[in-house]
């Protein structure tokens, strides 16, 4: 799976990591729904850190489209709220 973190670039993440990412995605979604800023920051930081840790950066001249696009590290809750679909940031 190819994941893009906005402002950072694309990462290839092994499909085995998806459940862990989904768990963090759920936390993020819950925090945004509750309007809980500290929980939101923690969940977003955790999610992005997981992608960076488990994924490998794609070279810049790759022309593959991403399966998933994650918000900036310093995104506000409002920005993330706009990106969230009914399924969270990560579909499925």
């Amino acid at each position: 799976m190819i994941v893009r973190i906005l402002g950072e670039g694309q990462f290839r993440v092994d499909d085995n990591a998806t459940p862990g990412l989904n768990h963090l995605d759920t936390e993020l979604e819950t925090a945004v729904e509750r309007g809980d800023e500290p929980a939101f920051k923690a969940a977003l930081t955790g999610l992005l850190a997981q992608v960076r840790a488990q994924g490998s950066p794609l070279p810049p001249d790759t022309l593959e489209a991403s399966d998933l696009i994650l918000p900036h590290q310093d995104s506000s809750m409002d920005e993330v709220r706009k990106l969230l679909t009914d399924e969270g940031l990560i579909p499925g």
Binding site: L6, G9, P60, D61, T62, L63, A65, I69
Partner: protein, 204 residues
């Protein structure tokens, strides 16, 4: 201030990296397109080029958002700086945390001095407004000390009609007892007190 500068520098670095990524993708797309055209039939080539282009358009979207964020952040900082300037200028906000340099201290001192000066002027004005009538009232025997020639003329005016502006409204009431006292024959030894007042005023 330092923090904002660092923030803007970080934004600039991000944008530089983003533009390099986009440039790499554009170059890759150009190469890929030529390869595809040479290798595939027209229909297949079109499909593959479209796929490659989606990679670029995603990158362009990312760069576009990064530019938007940088612009928003800059505008926000400018607005905040403008608001702080206005608050400082209006005096609602003091530069409490800021280090006060020598020039600022001197400027403050000057403005404080001018406050004192204006206060002094005001006090002198008040004294000047009240002093003449006292001189007028006592001028019959002692006004000559200030060289006030037409004292008697002023006195006669004051006596014949209520005293006119620019004197305060209470002036006729204050002047009247003195005039009455003088006509009753106040000793000359009491007069210096009236003359002393302007000198006290100079001392302020």
């Amino acid at each position: 201030m330092q923090g904002q500068y660092a923030q803007l520098q970080a934004e600039e670095e991000k944008l530089t990296v983003a533009s390099q990524r986009l440039q790499a993708k554009v170059d890759a797309f150009r190469t890929r397109k030529e390869t595809i055209k040479a290798t595939y039939t027209a229909a297949e080539a079109q499909t593959r080029i479209n796929e490659a282009f989606s990679g670029i358009s995603e990158e362009m979207g990312d760069v576009g958002m990064a530019i938007q964020r940088a612009e928003d952040k800059t505008a926000q900082m400018q607005a905040r700086a403008g608001a702080i300037d206005e608050l400082m200028a209006s005096g609602a906000l003091d530069d409490v945390g800021g280090r006060r340099d020598d020039i600022q201290a001197e400027l403050d001192q000057l403005s404080a001095n001018s406050d004192v000066e204006s206060e002094l002027r005001r006090l002198r004005g008040e004294i000047a407004a009240s002093a003449p009538k006292q001189l007028e009232g006592s001028g019959g025997s002692g006004g000559g000390a200030n060289g006030d020639g037409p004292v008697h003329e002023g006195q006669s005016q004051a006596q014949s009609a209520p005293y006119a502006p620019p004197a305060p409204t209470q002036q006729p009431q204050q002047a009247a007892p003195q005039q009455a006292a003088q006509s009753a024959g106040i000793p000359v030894s009491d007069l210096p007190s009236a003359n002393d007042q302007p000198q006290d005023g100079e001392g302020l």
